[in-house]
């Protein structure tokens, strides 16, 4: 009997190391089933609560496994400081996204169970992507994160813009995925390996500098990654998708996707293909400069806050690339640091946008912020801190983040990229500051939401939730006229975090410390 068991032993699975990922996947299943419960309260309150618990457990497991460094699933994934940090950031973004979506119309229309389950699955996909040490795992992670996001973008089923955003994202995202997959196939063809370690040793041995197949493969992979991280010139989808998608989804997507995509890019390019990196550096430098310029110039003159933040996110991705291009331990840690800082500031800004979308009928127009300094100083203060942090003004976390990135650029002999960051920041002042000016300069505040909502009354779509039919024409967009206490609280917390980490930044440095060393960078 014992001998049978011994021979039947399955492959060894390190459950402990995988626990953060399993927590997210498990929670997504539980949430999906809980969404089928009959009681409306269970669906509308219980499901988001369970989602929060899921993210909370994932964070707990991450803290438990904080010092783990091992390869799991036959070297398919590496659970190390970088991936655990990614889990932490993605989960924080997930918690914020859940709270922002709690009473949103999107979650009602598509049904709570599906909405939050998809949110958790996409988070799990991000974790897989951030931890992937194999081309196959990388692709699986990428699709696991992308497919739920396509659906989430279209989750406002009665809004043409939301559906359009979902479709656009699906098509362009698929092109990106396909490009990347083609690149992966070529890399595999050239090196005969799909795991990063194998690719690295093959590349080191053969010196693929003149191998057209290898170089094309890497080039196509870079293009695919640039699509996913919304880097210029592969950024065109970003403003439309950010604007059309339900705002809580945009908020979550804008930060969490970046965390995963940058972690994956660092792993693939700085580590696996680090040897051949010199060949690709000019391309990356061009992408970084283009993103910083296109993002910052594109954001000028936008009246939609979501579009403005979309362009600003392109620019911020360009700043992040600088740390990645430097490729030193300092550079990689600066990227992770900046991601954390960006998470606070960007989510804070989106929280305020959501609050104003619910309170006024100006949607995400910049005019919705008028007079906010008088009518709601807390929200105005949060938005101010968020904008100052994104612009990199001292006493906010964004300043330290930029300081860190520029410092790593100078240290890595790329001073000129530091100067490009600064030039980008100068341009960015011209669109971040008017937002602040709109809130504090006085003037008539934006009128409160009126009873009539022109956008309801669109035809009901197949597959909508039972609640979708109940959303009557009289009911305003989100069923509420107030921002919701959870939105205000989360905005305040993120704003305070932005301020505190600008004054006492060392804890964040301690958090990202070791993320690069776990990859073997110096």
């Amino acid at each position: 009997m014992t001998s049978v068991l011994a021979t039947a032993k399955g492959p060894y699975v390190d459950w402990a190391a995988l626990s953060p990922l399993l927590a997210l996947l498990g929670a997504s299943l539980i949430v999906l089933v809980a969404g089928l419960l009959g009681a409306r309260g269970a669906r509308e309150q219980g499901v988001p609560l369970l989602t929060l618990v899921g993210f909370g457990v994932a964070i707990g497991c991450t803290i438990w496994q904080w010092d783990t460094q091992k390869n799991v699933i036959s070297r398919g994934m590496s659970i190390d400081r970088l991936s655990l940090l990614a889990v932490l950031l993605v989960s924080v973004a997930g918690i914020v996204g859940t709270l922002l979506a709690w009473r949103s119309r999107a979650a009602k229309e598509i049904a709570h169970g599906e909405f939050f389950s998809l949110l958790l699955v996409s988070a799990a996909g991000m974790v897989v992507l951030a931890a992937a040490e194999n081309l196959i795992t990388t692709f699986v992670g990428l699709e696991l994160l992308s497919l739920p996001l396509y659906i989430l973008c279209a989750s406002r089923m009665r809004s043409e813009r939301s559906l359009e955003a979902g479709l656009k994202y699906l098509i362009i995202g698929s092109v990106g995925s396909a490009t990347m997959l083609y690149g992966f196939a070529l890399i595999y063809g050239a090196t005969g390996a799909t795991d990063y370690a194998g690719i690295a040793s093959a590349a080191a041995k053969a010196g693929f500098n003149d191998d057209v197949m290898f170089l094309t493969g890497v080039g196509l992979s870079i293009v695919g990654l640039a699509f996913k991280s919304s880097l210029a010139p592969f950024h065109q989808w970003t403003p439309d998708v950010y604007e059309g998608a339900p705002t809580p989804v945009t908020a979550y997507m804008s930060v969490a996707t970046k965390v995963a995509a940058f972690a994956a890019t660092i792993r693939l390019l700085d580590v696996a293909l680090g040897g051949a990196f010199a060949d690709w550096k000019p391309l990356w430098e061009a992408i970084a400069v283009a993103s910083i310029l296109v993002g910052n110039v594109g954001a000028l003159g936008q009246t939609s806050l979501k579009r403005m933040l979309a362009y600003s996110s392109i620019a911020q991705a360009g700043y992040l690339l600088v740390g990645f291009i430097v490729g030193t331990a300092g550079g990689v840690e600066a990227v992770m640091y900046y991601l954390a800082v960006y998470l606070f500031a960007n989510l804070a800004a989106f929280s305020v946008v959501i609050a104003r979308e619910r309170e006024t009928d100006r949607e995400d127009d910049i005019a919705a912020l008028r007079g906010l300094g008088t009518s709601s100083p807390v929200l105005a203060g949060v938005m101010t801190l968020a904008m100052l942090s994104l612009a990199g003004i001292p006493a906010t976390a964004g300043f330290i983040g930029k300081f860190n990135l520029i410092s790593s650029a100078v240290d890595g002999g790329e001073t000129w990229l530091g100067i490009v960051i600064v030039i980008g920041s100068m341009i960015s002042l011209a669109y971040y500051l008017p937002v602040i000016a709109t809130m504090w300069a006085g003037g008539d505040p934006a009128p409160a939401r009126s009873r009539e909502d022109p956008r309801t009354g669109l035809p009901v779509l197949a597959g909508a939730s039972p609640e979708a039919d109940e959303l009557s024409i009289e009911e305003p967009l989100d069923g509420i006229r107030a921002a919701g206490i959870e939105v205000t609280v989360i905005a305040a917390i993120l704003g305070v975090a932005t301020l505190v980490f600008g004054i006492v930044p060392q804890p964040l440095f301690d958090l990202v410390d070791g993320a690069a060393r776990s990859l073997g960078l110096s």
Partner: protein, 510 residues
Amino acid sequence: MTISLSIVLWLPLAAGIIALALPGALARWVSLLGAAMVLAYAAVIAIDYDTGAGGLQYVTDETWIRSLGVHYTLAVSGLNVFLILLTAITFFAAALWVALKDTDLPKPGLYAFLMGLAQSGVLGAFLAQDLALFVVFFDLMLVPFFFLTLVWGGPDRGPAVLKLFIYTLVGSLLMLVGAIATGVLAKAGAGHHVSFLFSDLQRAPLGKGSQEWIFLVFALAFLIKMPAFPFHGWMPDGYLQMPIPVLAVFSAVLSKVAAYGFLQVALPLFPRGAVQYQELLMLLSLASILYGSAMAFSTSQVRLILGYSSVAQLGFITLGIFALNQQGVDGALIQAVNHGLVAAPLIFIVALLAARSGGSEDLRDMGGIAFRAPILAAVFLVLTLALLAMPGSSNFIGEFLILLGAFKSKLAIALIASTGVGMAAVYALRLYIRSMHNRVGPKVESRELSRADGFVLVPLTIAIVAFALYPQAALHAGERDVRARLAPVAAVQHGGAADLAAAVRRGASR
């Protein structure tokens, strides 16, 4: 006695935060109390500072950001001791003005908070002995002025405030790269961890190429902040839209941070850059003097006259600094204090003139205001004579030393610059005569200073007179530190790159 600089640095902000939580009138008085305590503390520091010993005193040294090598290091030196006092005086005067005069100011709590933040920012920039910390405060002190103008500014403040902020932040952001590059590149020379402490940076001078571009970056940031020709584009808009007490502090103190930055950062850390671009900077100063003076006697907006006169005065200060000798820098240092002491009350006078000429701040609507206001006229006259550097005023000594230094170093530039002294007399007297004397303006109602005005203006005027009687106080305090800051420059000038490090060490130990 033990003096903690952290207290004097953060006290204004603490008072501001308390005021933020308090209702109207109380907020104004808490803000005033905070400013008074800072003034008392600054006075104690100025008296207690050991001028015989010189150098850094009351040093506070903590690590702020270990991972970036940034220190929280504060100290008083001979260079900043009187500038700190000047800051405390002007902010106190501005707080007094608001407490006594602007009693119907909306959102007084927020106003008090922002002024507190501004004062902490300015004091931080003066006290910082770490390059990164200096940059942080240099940028930070601008932020409250953005909001102060945005909420309480003039009717056309929207575009003006963006212009002002973007202009000055562009300089600051470039400076950020320069500062980071200085720290990181010096690490290679010194072979230790990254450190931004001035003392560490001075011990590991950068190569010639790095010094030159980083010097230019810093010079640009300082020239924009001053403002100096041709980087003064923000000045007319900013001056016209800022509320009076805010403008008084801005005009009196913020430009001095830039002048101080040249002395504290640019000369000791980038001596090769300073020598290389000495003529460029002197020519820019000359252009500022001529352009500022010419504009000051051709415009009729009182605020702009003062704004352009600032451009000219700051031109003199920069000229003195880039004479790169003891007299010039000594003169620049006292002139920085002098101009601050004169600029703040003159801005308050603008408000008084406007109140007496039907709300207009245009010289053409003024005239004959002295008629029933002898005390106002007397105070204004003292300020005017100080502004035009009448012999006997401390400004005269400052300008004299500046020109003496400039003559020693570049004769031709100094000759042309000395005409600026004459032009100052033209615009200062034109301002005084056309507002106070001449034909009585159409809407002018002459009346005497109110008691509240007197409380603000008379002490400032007394301070000017006192400083005129005893300018040696600042000269003596600054002497040793000026020599130490000039030592690297002198070493570069007298050849011998090899001597540079030795000279720096000598200078630092002195």
